[in-house]
Subunit: 137 residues, 3 copies
């Protein structure tokens, strides 16, 4: 397989799970110095985002605002009861691209990477691909 696969066990219906340290470990193992790291979530009721991982209330507010904007129950046609999760997945998005610099994941001071569960609890996957790039910009 030409990419890494992380397995994530979610515990709630909607949940943000910090995967920054798992990604940092992959970066370290890859021994790249300058690179790009591509994330892809192969699910239609989940997503990946980057946001503050210092104060957990930020994660709470992101989930509660998404739940308020796109309520669990609504005039949905999709009969499986998870239409809201599909909509949230499209709004937040299944892919992100991160920079690797000097052998480390390059993030802002307050940034962490979060797997977004919108229809849990489930066992989920995140795909990761690291591509070395030139040392100049």
């Amino acid at each position: 397989m030409s990419y890494h696969e992380l397995t994530i066990r979610t515990q709630s219906r909607t949940e943000l799970i910090d995967i920054t340290s798992q990604l940092a470990r992959l970066v370290q193992q890859s021994k790249v110095l300058s690179a790009l790291l591509f994330l892809f979530v192969p699910h239609t009721t989940a997503a990946v985002t980057i946001n503050e991982n210092a104060d957990p209330s930020v994660q709470h507010d992101i989930l509660s605002e998404l739940n308020r904007l796109i309520p669990l129950a609504g005039p949905y046609q999709h009969a499986e009861g998870n239409a809201a999760a599909h909509v949230k997945s499209t709004l937040v998005g299944p892919s992100q691209t991160l920079f690797i610099d000097e052998g480390r994941l390059a993030l802002g001071t307050w940034q962490g990477v979060f797997f977004c569960e919108f229809d849990g609890p489930r066992s989920r996957k995140v795909w990761v691909k690291i591509i070395p790039t030139p040392n100049h910009p």
Copy 2:
């Protein structure tokens, strides 16, 4: 031109169009084994997303929730009557990155790639770039 250009004819004001098989054909023709596929929509009232392509009601619910959240008519300044389409374009986004593995588009079981028309019907373009990557992750 250093990228492929797909042409899409949309039929409705708002519509999701499954472009997965067109992308799969480009992947096959490119004969790459491991690669990244970059999508870019060169329009400001459209977007690209990845979501379920098994039950069409999911596509219906995504569009109807977006239309409910960002109504066609509102207190908009933009005088062309398509301000809502511009807002939806920014929320869903014009670019996505997909993985190619063992010569095939790597998607989750239920995932398909959709062009999102928010101000149709129109003739639209989707740009596609495929970059070979190492066989290891």
Copy 3:
């Protein structure tokens, strides 16, 4: 450093700032012909989007709809008063990927690239990485 860093001085609480010409200059200086340009915003209350830069009312409508959907004041737990900005950052997203073709940024006729300030005024950064790619698609 293996990427460029733009510095942006924002003037308002919420604001879109057109950075297209700064990116075009980086592309020109890089002397690449075919390439990908990766954007990353290292902040948790900001984002990057691509939308119309001809009529400024589009930028106004994007901001006012986001402010209507995710109000500044709400039942947020995060105590710093900028919870709404964190939610908007996740909805619009911190990364985008653009194509470079024949030595120029490849954008649709009406497209520009905008830094999205959701908790200004502040001094902000945008990271940019340009990766040469084959001349064929």
